[in-house]
């Protein structure tokens, strides 16, 4: 029973990180129909920036409380990552808005490799320990262990989601975003500036990715220039899983994916009598994805996108 609860907690923590990154993918996809392959790298840049700031602060102001450092670094790295994502969209995607569909995909892949190499040059390729800033003592709930970092992750995810939902559903910007996603040309006729909306979407996506990146770093305790790749891939899978272009779908997809992975790697050994071990955990995401898409080609909560290739 306690193992079950433990896997549930781990799955939720993992899932909330996927969900936050998946939201960035799904928003961009919903509006400009682009798989933003560089999104995972935005997460990486956010995490590395926050690491650099924290290390700097620990040297300059050793007396500062951990949670304050975390907040300060989170705010600054959100700004950095947003600026970066804003610039990426302007340089690499905007000029290709009316080009053949594969062209922006290739620039996105190029951007992703470029960001990785730049990060490697700036931060050196080794793994860097991410300091534990919250009290490390584990808290026991009914036989399962939860750390204060994990509680922070769950709380931060809930807050981010609430803010995002408010933003999208009740503000002028949110209405403009939904209108542009529906039909950019008509939205423009109604006085919405699609370019501004798209830029705003990239900024919001970067903020969410950075929050996820900082969570990821605090949860696993290390940062590196390749750390964005796998979460990015999983988050994209989550977005497709939930129905790409659908915000609630991204959240549901992310959390489900986290749970599947956590339970899968927790129980696969026992289920197969030790033949398959937990190192197969990375493929659960893809197997689930293939099954779901075979049964429901538009994802769990997706609308039937009639025939847009």
């Amino acid at each position: 029973m306690d193992i079950l609860l433990q896997q549930l907690i781990n799955g939720l923590v993992l899932g909330s990180m996927y969900a936050l990154v998946a939201l960035g993918y799904t928003m961009v996809y919903g509006i400009i129909n682009l798989i933003n392959f560089a999104h995972g790298e935005v997460l990486m840049v956010g995490a590395l920036t926050s690491w650099a700031i924290i290390v700097g602060m620990q040297e300059a102001m050793p007396g500062m409380p951990g949670w304050l450092m975390l907040v300060v670094s989170l705010v600054i790295s959100c700004v950095v990552a947003s600026a970066l994502n804003f610039a990426i969209e302007k340089i690499a995607y905007r000029p290709l808005r009316n080009s053949p569909k594969l062209a922006p995909l290739i620039t996105a892949i190029g951007m992703s490799i470029l960001l990785q190499t730049l990060a490697m040059i700036i931060f050196k390729p080794n793994y860097k320990p991410y300091p534990t800033l919250l009290p490390p003592a584990p808290i026991l709930i009914g036989g399962a262990v939860i750390t204060s970092t994990q509680i922070m992750i769950l709380g931060l995810t809930a807050v981010s989601l609430a803010v995002l939902m408010y933003l999208v559903n009740y503000t002028k910007l949110g209405r403009a975003m939904r209108a542009t996603a529906e039909n950019p040309r008509v939205a423009a006729l109604m006085g919405v500036k699609p370019d501004t909306v798209i830029s705003a979407t990239f900024v919001i996506g970067a903020v969410l990715a950075t929050i996820a990146g900082v969570m990821y770093a605090s949860n696993y305790g290390s940062v590196q220039h390749t750390m964005g790749f796998l979460p990015g891939l999983k988050a994209f899978t989550a977005a497709v899983f939930g129905g790409i272009g659908n915000l609630a779908g991204a959240v549901v997809g992310g959390i489900l994916l986290g749970l599947i992975e956590s339970f899968g790697s927790g129980y696969i050994g026992a289920l197969t009598g030790g033949v398959l071990g937990s190192h197969y955990s990375d493929i659960f995401a893809f197997i689930v994805l293939i099954i779901i898409l075979t049964l429901r080609p538009s994802g769990l909560l997706g609308e039937r996108v009639a025939d847009r290739a």
């Binding site: 053949p100 594969l102 470029l114 190499t117 497709v240 493929i283 197997i287 075979t294 290739a309």
Partner: protein
Amino acid sequence: MNGFIERQNKYVVYVLAALALAILPLLLQAAGNFWVRIADIALLYVLLALGLNIVVGYAGLLDLGYVAFFAIGAYMYALMASPHLSDTFQWFQQTFPNGLHTSIWLVVPLGAALAGFFGILLGAPTLKLRGDYLAIVTLGFGEIIRVFLNNLDHPVNITNGPKGMGQIDSIRIFGLNLGKRLDIGDYSINAVTFYYYLFLILVVLSVVICHRLELSRIGRAWMAIREDEIAAKAMGINTRNMKLLAFGMGATFGGVSGAMFAAFQGFVSPESFSLNESVMIVAMVVLGGIGHLPGVILGAVLLASLPEVLRWVSGYFDLQAMTGGRLDASILRQMLIALAMIVVMLMRPRGLWPTPEHGKSLRQNGGK
């Protein structure tokens, strides 16, 4: 008359190109095996890019897991032409005391067939999907294959896991061992040069096949599906079979090049078949000019040889010392490839050498 001269010019160009390609390795060989190796690798990538071009370029199905077929071909050859199976399994050694040194005439068709089978296996559940959904599923398929290659060393050791398989036989054709240097009098032809000719023959063969496919009913059907699937279906094209055929044919090329790769390297490990490779092959096709054979070949040659040449350049100038260890050859290579991908796409979104015909069916066509 005009046409006659043009046709004659065309043949002159062909003959000259053939001569140049035939002499190239002998010239490169004089400069060092390193350069011939670059040419070999470039040819292998051309083969892969041609295969992917069938799937992405002709049929318009974005496949991000193409490297899986490359891996299947390579591992199949490695299993059949290395001592791995005899070393691992007692019963196998008893049945084949000298190991399975399979002939290339068996391996190539088998590799092609196996990869083709997997291609169809991948294609079947994804038929309803299109565009980006398809991209992510194929990507997942590639990763699944890679994870399995990486982990199938336990409990039964089939792939030897991350350590990879070595001691793979080189290719023998009609008693000629391509892995050994051949001395003809004073003149010697290196192993890499033999492989160059083998790969060149395969590439030429593939170009002919692709060209014929492009002009055939099948090719037309693929392009119709690419431009507008619903319309294609309405015109009586069996889109399901055609898509499966595209996946199968594309995968076949991947399988053959995989077998060649294993024989050429003498070693395979899961590392060679990462998602990055898939992405690189897609980039070759798109960068060169999707759906256009000369463009695809150009893209493959450029992207495959550029990194190797850069490796040489950065070794020559000793970048590491110049930048205090921050910038070395491999980082520079990656950075320049990424920049090339971005810049080329921004300047020429249709690729470096785009097809004049792409999308023609959507425009008004007066019949001339």
